[in-house]
C-alpha cells in the first residue's frame, strides 16, 4: 500500500513529554527548528514525546535523539543546539560531553540502547514511545502502524480477529487480568445493539504513569487497537475516558483522532472496507473509583461515578445498558502488534498463564526511575537491581509495592519471584496496572499501610457499608498505631475488618483494599509490634515514635544541621559537638539528610 512510506534521512527528535517540557525542551526544539530552516542538508526536526522518566532520564532532560545514527544526548540546553548542528549533523561527529553516562558502568554511551537499563527490556506496548512524533500520523505509519488494521479489515472476518486474540493469551493490563479475547467474544455474542468499545485511560493508581505515556507518546496505537476491537465485536462508536489531569495526553489523543479521521482510519467505511467506527474523548472528573468499569460507564453517561453490583456483565449490559467492551490503554496498544505478528509469536513470550510483556513504572527508592517494559516471568531482582540499578545511597532494600493502592508489599526474601499475574496474587499482592514502588530501610511499613488505607478511605465512593465504614475504622487504628497509641489487640481487629471488606464489598475497590494491610502484616509484623509494644519506628518516619539525636563520636562540628534546622532546635559552636533539643525538634529529618558524616541518628522508644 502506498501509505507505508520509506524512512527519511536524518531526524532530530526532541523529547517533549511532560518531564522534559518541565526542563525546557520546547525552547531546544524551537532552536533546532530555527537553525535548520536554512540548512541545506535534509534534516527534519521533530518533536517526539518521550515517556517521562524512562531511564530516570527526565531528570537528565531535555533529551535529544539523532536518527538514524541513534545518538542520545542529555541535558541539552539552547546554546548546545548550535554545536550539535555543526558537529553531529554537518560533521558526523559525536559531542562527547552531552552523552549519557551509564550508572552501571560509569562509561559514556552513544545510544541509550547500550545501557543495562535498556538491554533487559522488550518493547511491545511502548514500541514507538520516544521514537516517533505523536503529532504526526506518518511517523506511526512508517513504523508499521495501521498495517494490522488493514490486515484485519481485508483478510480476516470479525470472528477470526477475536479467535486470534483468544489464542494470543493477552490478558487485560488494567488490573484484573481478564482474557481480552474472551471478553470480546462475550460482547460479540450478544444480540443487542448498538455495541460500544471503550478505553480506560483513567489511570488512578498513584505511582503509575504508563497509560499517560502511551496516550502522550503513541496515541495511534490505541486508536488502531480500538478500531480492530470494534470490528471484532461489531461496534460503531467508541469512547476514550482520560483523566482530567493529563492535559498533554488529552491534547495528543484529540489531535490523533482528528488525523485518523482525515486519513480514513476512523469514520465511514474505514480503508474502503465498508466498516465504519467513530471515536470520542470523555474527560474524567478526578475520582479514583471512576477507573472501575461500571463507575466509568456511569461517568461517561454524565452521572456520578458509582459502581454497581457485577451480576450482569458489561459485555451484556454496559454503557447505556448496551453490550460494551472496556479495555485498558496498554491492552489496546498491544492489539495491533498481535494481529500484525500473529498470536503464535505473542504467546511465545511470557509464562504459562501470562503472555507477552508488561509495562511497569519503576519508581521510589531506586537508581533508575522510569517506565520499563519487560517479558512476563522476569524476576523482581532483575527488574530492581539490573534494570533499576539498585537502591541509591547505599541503603538497604526493604520492600517493593506492586498493584497500586490495593496491591501489596513484597519483602526482600521474595526478590526471586517471577513476575506474572499468578505469582503476584500468590504473594498477596497483584499485578494491578503496573506501579512498582521500591522502598528502602527509611520507609516505615506501618505508615505505608496507613497511607494506602487513607487513600482508599478517601476514594471509597461510600455506596456500600463495608468499604465506607471498614476503611474508616482501619484508618483510625493505623493512625493510632503510628501515633504511639496502639494496643495489642489492634492487629487482630485489623485482620477481622480486612476479612469483612473482602467478603462483603460491592466493587473491586473494597474487595482488594485489605491487601496493603494484610501483606505488611504478613511480611513486616515485627514493625507493627515495635510500634505498638516498644513505641518505636525503626525507619524514623512516624514523628511521635522517633527521636533524633547527634552521635557525639561522629559529629565534626560543621554546623550544617543547625543551619538547616527549620525549628532552631539544634545548638552548638562550629568545631564543637552539636546537640538537638528534643522539645523543639519537629522531626522533619532535615538534619539527618544534610549531615555528611552520618552523625544524626534515630532513636525510638519515646515515652508517650
Amino acid at each position: 500500500m502506498g501509505i507505508f512510506r520509506s524512512r527519511p534521512k536524518r531526524t532530530v527528535l526532541v523529547c517533549c513529554g511532560t518531564g522534559c517540557l518541565a526542563n525546557g525542551s520546547h525552547g531546544v526544539y524551537r532552536e533546532f527548528e530555527r537553525m535548520l530552516k536554512n540548512a541545506d542538508q535534509p534534516v527534519r526536526v521533530k518533536a517526539a514525546a518521550k515517556a517521562t522518566g524512562c531511564n530516570g532520564l527526565c531528570e537528565m532532560g531535555p533529551i535529544v535523539k539523532i536518527l538514524p545514527d541513534d545518538i542520545f544526548y542529555c541535558r541539552v540546553k539552547v546554546p548546545d543546539v548550535e554545536e550539535i548542528v555543526r558537529e553531529t549533523l554537518a560533521g558526523g561527529r559525536v559531542v562527547e560531553r552531552l552523552l549519557y553516562t551509564d550508572p552501571a558502568t560509569g562509561k559514556k554511551v552513544k545510544s541509550h540502547k547500550d545501557t543495562a537499563f535498556y538491554k533487559n527490556q522488550l518493547k511491545i506496548a511502548l514500541r514507538n514511545i520516544g521514537e516517533i512524533d505523536p503529532a504526526n500520523i506518518d511517523d506511526y505509519i512508517q513504523r508499521g502502524g495501521y498495517r494490522a488494521l488493514e490486515k484485519a479489515l481485508s483478510k480476516m472476518k470479525p470472528e477470526d480477529v477475536t479467535a486470534e486474540m483468544e489464542k494470543s493469551g493477552l490478558r487485560g493490563r488494567g488490573g484484573a487480568g481478564f482474557p481480552t479475547g474472551r471478553k470480546w467474544r462475550h460482547c460479540a455474542a450478544s444480540d443487542d445493539t448498538p455495541r460500544y468499545v471503550l478505553c480506560n485511560g483513567d489511570e488512578g493508581d498513584p505511582g503509575a504513569f504508563m497509560d499517560r505515556s502511551i496516550m502522550e507518546g503513541d496515541p495511534h496505537s490505541i486508536i488502531e487497537g480500538m478500531v480492530i476491537g470494534a470490528y471484532a465485536v461489531g461496534s460503531r462508536q467508541g469512547f476514550i475516558y482520560i483523566r482530567d489531569e493529563y492535559s498533554l495526553a488529552l491534547k495528543n489523543m484529540s489531535a490523533a483522532i482528528r488525523q485518523a479521521k482525515e486519513q480514513g482510519f476512523l469514520g465511514e467505511s474505514i480503508m474502503g472496507s465498508g466498516f465504519g467506527f467513530d471515536l470520542s474523548i470523555v474527560r474524567g472528573g478526578g475520582a479514583f473509583v471512576c477507573g472501575e468499569s461500571s463507575a466509568l460507564m456511569a461517568s461517561i453517561e454524565g452521572r456520578v461515578g458509582e459502581p454497581r453490583a457485577k451480576y450482569i456483565h458489561a459485555t451484556e449490559r454496559g454503557l447505556w445498558d448496551k453490550p460494551t467492551v472496556l479495555n485498558n490503554v496498554e491492552t489496546w496498544a498491544n492489539v495491533p502488534v498481535i494481529i500484525d505478528r500473529g498470536s503464535d509469536w505473542f504467546s511465545s513470550i511470557g509464562t504459562g498463564g501470562s503472555k507477552g510483556t508488561k509495562v511497569f513504572s519503576l519508581v521510589g527508592k531506586v537508581q533508575n526511575t522510569g517506565l520499563i517494559e519487560v517479558p512476563m516471568g522476569i524476576s523482581l531482582r532483575k527488574i530492581i537491581f539490573d534494570i533499576g540499578g539498585g537502591i541509591p545511597g547505599g541503603k538497604a532494600f526493604k520492600a517493593v509495592q506492586t498493584g497500586g493502592p490495593s496491591g501489596g508489599c513484597i519483602p526482600g526474601s521474595m526478590l526471586d519471584l517471577k513476575v506474572d499475574f499468578e505469582s503476584l496474587s500468590g504473594a498477596g499482592s497483584m499485578m494491578g496496572s503496573g506501579g512498582m514502588i521500591v522502598m528502602d530501610e527509611d520507609t516505615c511499613m506501618v505508615e505505608v499501610a496507613r497511607y494506602y488505607t487513607g487513600f482508599l478511605a478517601e476514594e471509597s465512593c461510600g455506596k456500600c457499608l463495608p468499604c465506607r465504614e471498614g476503611l474508616r475504622r482501619m484508618l483510625g487504628i493505623l493512625n493510632d498505631i503510628c501515633a504511639g497509641r496502639g494496643h495489642k489487640e489492634d492487629v487482630d481487629t485489623l485482620l477481622e475488618i480486612c476479612e469483612a471488606l473482602r467478603e462483603a464489598s460491592l466493587c473491586g475497590l473494597g474487595k482488594t483494599a485489605p491487601n496493603p494491610v494484610e501483606t505488611t502484616l504478613r511480611y513486616f509484623r515485627e514493625e507493627y509490634l515495635e510500634h505498638i509494644r516498644d513505641k518505636r519506628c525503626r525507619a524514623g518516619v512516624c514523628p511521635a515514635l522517633t527521636q533524633y539525636y547527634i552521635e557525639g563520636s561522629l559529629c565534626r562540628g560543621c554546623g550544617l544541621c543547625a543551619k538547616n534546622c527549620p525549628a532552631g532546635a539544634i545548638t552548638g559552636k562550629p568545631g564543637d559537638k552539636y546537640t538537638i533539643d528534643p522539645d523543639l525538634c519537629i522531626k522533619c529529618g532535615r538534619c539527618r539528610q544534610v549531615c555528611k558524616f552520618g552523625a544524626v541518628s534515630i532513636g525510638g522508644g519515646a515515652a508517650v
Binding site: L21, T52, C54, C58, D205, A208, S247, A287, I437, T443
Partner: protein, 164 residues
C-alpha cells in the same frame, strides 16, 4: 454566608452550553468547562445549567461534590497542587506540604483570604520519576525540597506570607 462574591457574568456559561448537544451525557463536560472558565462552579451558573438540561439542582450538586475536578468554592489566583501519590509520598511530600501549610497558614482545600493561593493535594501527577512533584497553575516543579518553597512562593508574589 459571610463572604459575598459579586455576581458572575453568565455569558460564558451560555456559550459553553451552546457548544454541546442538549443531552445529559455532556453534563460532566459542561461542568468541567464552567470550572475552567470561572475556577469554580458559581451558583448562578448551575441554575442556568439546570434550566437548560432540565435536571434537578441536587443532581448538579452531587456531581460537584463527587468529582475532584469540580469545586463549589472559588479558587485562588495560584492553585498549588502537591502530589501525594505513592512515589512522592515516600520521597517526603509531607515535608513539602508542612512547609506550605506553615508559610501560607492554610490547610489543603483552603484558599488564602486575599485570594492569591489555594493549596491542594493530588494523588499522582503521573510524573513519579520526578518525585516529589508540585504543580502551580500547570507549571511543574520537580524534585522539590522543602527549603525551596519560600523561594518559589516569593517569585509568585508571596511576600508577607509566613517568614517570606
Amino acid at each position: 454566608m459571610d463572604f459575598v462574591k459579586q455576581r458572575e457574568d453568565l455569558a460564558p456559561v451560555r456559550e459553553i452550553l451552546d457548544g454541546y448537544p442538549r443531552e445529559q451525557r455532556f453534563l460532566l463536560a459542561i461542568l468541567q468547562d464552567i470550572q475552567k472558565t470561572y475556577g469554580y462552579l458559581p451558583r448562578e451558573a448551575l441554575e442556568t445549567v439546570r434550566l437548560h438540561l432540565d435536571v434537578p439542582l441536587s443532581r448538579l450538586y452531587s456531581m460537584a461534590t463527587f468529582y475532584k475536578a469540580l469545586s463549589l468554592k472559588p479558587k485562588g489566583e495560584y492553585v498549588i497542587k502537591v502530589c501525594d501519590g505513592t512515589a512522592c509520598h515516600i520521597k517526603n511530600s509531607q515535608g513539602l506540604l508542612d512547609e506550605l501549610k506553615r508559610l501560607l497558614g492554610i490547610e489543603p482545600g483552603e484558599t488564602t483570604v486575599d485570594g492569591r493561593f489555594s493549596l491542594e493535594t493530588v494523588n499522582c501527577l503521573g510524573s513519579c520519576a520526578l518525585a516529589p512533584v508540585m504543580v502551580i497553575n500547570d507549571v511543574y516543579y520537580a524534585k522539590v525540597e522543602p527549603d525551596k518553597i519560600r523561594e518559589i512562593l516569593g517569585m509568585l508574589g508571596g511576600k508577607g506570607y509566613g517568614d517570606i
